[in-house]
C-alpha cells in the first residue's frame, strides 16, 4: 500500500512554517520598536511570548487530535494575527491600549480554537444542529436590537451588545452558525432544489417555492441593513448564502438571481436611507472638496487612507515610520491602509496573497471532504473569509463603497478575532477529515470488531476455565 504512505500528516512542515510565521509576526513588532528608536519593551516580549506559546499549543493540539489537518492554514493565520497585533500595538497612543486588548482576544480566540479541535472529533456531528443553528443565528442577529442588552448606536451601526463594560458583536459569531445551517439545509435539500424548473435559453430558473430559503436569506440581509445600518454584514451574509447555493447546485441562475436581488436591495436602500446614500456619494465623489470636508458620511477617512498608501509607495515607509495614525480608525476599519503605507505595495500584496492562500486551502478542504455537509461548510466558511477581505480591501482602495467590516485577523476587534479563530478550527477539522486516508485494509483478527459479543464471550470462557480448574482441584 505505497499510496497510503503517500498521505502523510505533514505536521513537521507546519512547525517549520509556523516558526517562519512567528518570525514575521514578532519581527513586525520588533521592527516598529527599532524604527522608532525605542528599546524592545516588556509589551513586545509579552505579546510575542503569548503569540508563540498559543500557536505552539494549537500546533500540539493538531498533532494529537487532527493529525492530517492542512499544514499551511495555521501558519497563514498566525502570520496575519501577528502582523495585526504589531500594527495595532504600533498605532496605540499613550492613552489607548488596543494592542494588549487584541493580545488578550488572540489568546481567547486560540484557546477556543483548541477547544473546538479537541472536542469536535468529526465535523459531521454539527449537522445535527442544523435548525438549532438557524434559531441561534436569528437570536444572535436580533440581540443588538433588544433593549437592555444592546450597546446602542456605535459609529452609526447598531451591531453591538454589552456585558458589563465589555462590548461584543454577536453578528460575527452568527457567521459560523449561519454557515452550519446553510450547509445542513442545502446538503439535505439539494436534490429538491435541483428539481427541474423553467428553462429560458441557457438559464435553468429555479421553481418559485424553492426560492423560499433564498428569499428568507435576502430578507434577513435587508433586515440587517435597515435595522442595524450594517451594509458590510448584510453583504457578507447574503454572499455566503449565494456562494453556498451555487456550490450545492452548480446553477449559475441562482448566483445571478442572488446578485440581482442584492443589487436591487442595495439600490432601494440607497434611495430610502440617507446614510447609505452618503456612503455611496463619498465613494463616487471622494475627492470633491464638499464631500471631503462633510461632517457625516464624508470621504475624509477613505481619502486619508489613499494618501497614506500613496505615501507608502512600492516598498513602504517602513514599520513605525509612516503616519497611519492620521487616518480615522486606522487600527480597525482602515488597518489595510496602515499596512499599505508602512509596508508598501510589496507588503500589502504579500498580505493579500496570504488571504488568497487561506481561501484556497479552505476550498481544497471542501474538495477533499467526503460528505456534502463538510464540503458546503468548508466552502461557505472560506467564501465568507474571502468575501470579507474583498469588501474591506475593496472599500479601503475605493473599488467599492467603504463598509464597516473587519479585516479578518488583522483588524482590532475581539468578536471578529474570536469568530475567525473558531472558523479556522472548523476548517482544520474538516481538512483533517478530508486528508485522512480512508482505511480500507481488511480487519486484523486481533482488532475485535464486535466488542459487545466477543468481550462477553471471553469473560464467559474465562469464567468457565476458572470453574473447571476449581473442579479439577477438588
Amino acid at each position: 500500500m505505497s499510496a497510503v504512505e503517500a498521505v502523510r500528516p505533514r505536521r513537521n512542515i507546519e512547525l517549520v512554517l509556523l516558526i517562519l510565521a512567528l518570525l514575521v509576526g514578532c519581527g513586525a513588532n520588533a521592527m516598529t520598536a527599532i524604527n522608532e528608536g525605542a528599546a524592545l519593551s516588556n509589551d513586545f516580549w509579552m505579546e510575542s511570548g503569548i503569540l508563540a506559546a498559543a500557536s505552539l499549543a494549537l500546533h500540539i493540539s493538531l498533532r494529537f487530535r487532527a493529525k492530517y489537518a492542512d499544514p499551511v492554514i495555521l501558519p497563514i493565520v498566525v502570520t496575519l494575527n501577528g502582523l495585526g497585533l504589531a500594527m495595532i500595538h504600533r498605532l496605540d497612543t499613550p492613552d489607548t491600549d488596543y494592542g494588549n486588548a487584541q493580545a488578550r482576544w488572540t489568546v481567547i480566540g486560540m484557546a477556543l480554537a483548541a477547544v473546538v479541535i479537541w472536542v469536535l472529533k468529526d465535523h459531521r456531528t454539527l449537522r445535527r444542529f442544523t435548525y438549532i443553528s438557524l434559531i441561534l443565528s436569528a437570536v444572535l442577529l436580533v440581540l443588538p436590537l433588544v433593549p437592555g442588552v444592546t450597546a446602542g448606536d456605535i459609529n452609526g451601526a447598531q451591531v453591538w451588545i454589552k456585558f458589563g463594560s465589555a462590548t461584543f458583536q454577536p453578528g460575527e459569531v452568527a457567521k459560523i452558525t449561519i454557515g452550519i445551517f446553510f450547509a445542513g439545509y442545502l446538503s439535505t435539500n439539494r436534490d429538491l432544489i435541483l428539481l427541474a424548473g423553467r428553462r429560458i435559453g441557457k438559464l435553468q430558473l429555479p421553481r418559485f417555492r424553492d426560492l423560499g430559503p433564498m428569499i428568507i436569506a435576502w430578507l434577513a440581509s435587508i433586515g440587517i441593513l435597515i435595522f442595524q445600518h450594517d451594509l458590510g454584514m448584510s453583504i457578507l451574509f447574503f454572499g455566503i448564502f449565494i456562494s453556498m447555493i451555487y456550490v450545492a447546485t452548480s446553477r449559475a441562475s441562482w448566483a445571478l438571481l442572488g446578485i440581482l436581488l442584492m443589487f436591487g436591495g442595495a439600490m432601494a436602500a440607497s434611495i430610502i436611507f440617507p446614510h447609505i446614500r452618503l456612503r455611496i456619494d463619498g465613494w463616487l465623489n471622494a475627492f470633491d472638496p464638499d464631500v471631503f470636508g462633510r461632517q457625516f458620511g464624508g470621504s475624509y477617512q477613505i481619502v486619508q487612507g489613499l494618501f497614506g498608501m500613496a505615501n507608502g509607495g512600492i516598498i513602504g515607509t517602513g514599520l513605525g515610520q509612516g503616519r497611519p495614525d492620521l487616518v480615522p480608525f486606522a487600527h480597525s476599519d482602515m488597518i489595510i491602509a496602515a499596512f499599505g503605507e508602512e509596508l508598501g505595495l510589496v507588503g500589502l500584496f504579500a498580505i493579500v496573497m496570504l488571504y488568497a492562500l487561506l481561501v484556497t486551502r479552505g476550498m481544497r478542504a471542501a474538495i477533499g471532504a467526503r460528505d456534502a455537509f463538510g464540503k458546503l461548510l468548508a466552502c461557505g466558511l472560506s467564501a465568507g473569509i474571502g468575501l470579507q477581505c474583498f469588501v474591506v480591501i475593496g472599500g479601503v482602495t475605493r473599488l467599492i463603497p467603504l463598509t464597516g467590516l473587519t479585516t479578518p485577523f488583522l483588524a482590532a476587534g475581539g468578536s471578529s478575532l474570536l469568530a475567525n479563530w473558531i472558523i479556522i478550527a472548523l476548517m482544520l477539522v474538516i481538512s483533517n477529515a478530508a486528508r485522512r486516508p480512508l482505511d480500507t485494509t481488511p480487519l486484523q483478527p486481533e482488532e475485535a470488531p464486535n466488542p459487545a459479543t466477543t468481550s462477553s464471550l471471553r469473560k464467559q470462557t474465562a469464567a468457565e476455565t476458572t470453574l473447571t480448574q476449581a473442579v479439577k482441584k477438588q
Partner: protein
C-alpha cells in the same frame, strides 16, 4: 542605529514576508497535483491512458444489485450504479429503510476501484458486516450479509 541598517532591515522584512508566502506555496505544491495519487493506490485515469498495462484487470464478478434479504423490506432489490448509496430511515436516503432500529443516516455504500465499500455514518445501533460491527470502511464481497437494525442486505452480481 544608522540609516543603512534601518533600510536593510526594512527591505529584509518585506523579503521575509515573501519568503513565507513562497514557502507556503512550496509546501502545498504536492497538494495542488489533484488526483496524481489515488488514495487506494489505484492508478489514475491519466496514468491508465498513458500506460494501458496499469489498468486493473476486470474483476470476475461485479456487484450489480442490492437485495434486502431480511427485515420489513425483505425482497426489495435495487440496481447499483456508479454513485454511492445512502442507507437509513431519512427521506433523502437512497434506500429508505422502514426499520425502527435504523438511524436516519445509517450507513453508506460506495464504489471504489472495482469494489463496493460500506461505511457506518455514526449510527446509534451500528452496522454489522458478516456479524462483525464496522469500526471503519470495509470492502463488501458478494453475498456477504450487511445487517442494519433488523434489515439484512446483500450485494448480488
Amino acid at each position: 542605529m544608522n540609516e543603512l541598517t534601518l533600510t536593510v532591515l526594512r527591505l529584509g522584512f518585506l523579503v521575509l514576508m515573501w519568503v513565507l508566502v513562497f514557502s507556503i506555496v512550496a509546501a502545498m505544491r504536492r497538494d495542488l497535483a489533484v488526483g496524481r495519487r489515488n488514495k487506494t493506490g489505484a492508478p489514475s485515469a491519466r496514468e491508465v491512458r498513458k500506460n494501458p498495462a496499469l489498468a486493473e484487470p476486470p474483476p470476475r464478478q461485479h456487484a450489480n444489485q442490492l437485495v434486502v434479504v431480511e427485515g420489513p423490506l425483505a425482497g426489495t432489490t435495487m440496481p447499483l450504479g456508479e454513485s454511492p448509496v445512502l442507507l437509513g430511515r431519512a427521506q433523502e436516503a437512497t434506500l429508505v429503510l422502514e426499520d425502527d432500529y435504523a438511524s436516519g443516516r445509517h450507513a453508506r455504500l460506495f464504489p471504489q476501484g472495482s469494489r463496493w465499500f460500506i461505511e457506518d455514518l455514526g449510527s446509534t445501533n451500528g452496522t454489522y458486516l458478516a456479524d462483525r460491527q464496522l469500526t471503519r470502511a470495509q470492502p463488501v464481497e458478494l453475498n456477504v450479509p450487511i445487517r442494519i437494525g433488523k434489515t439484512v442486505i446483500e450485494l448480488r452480481p
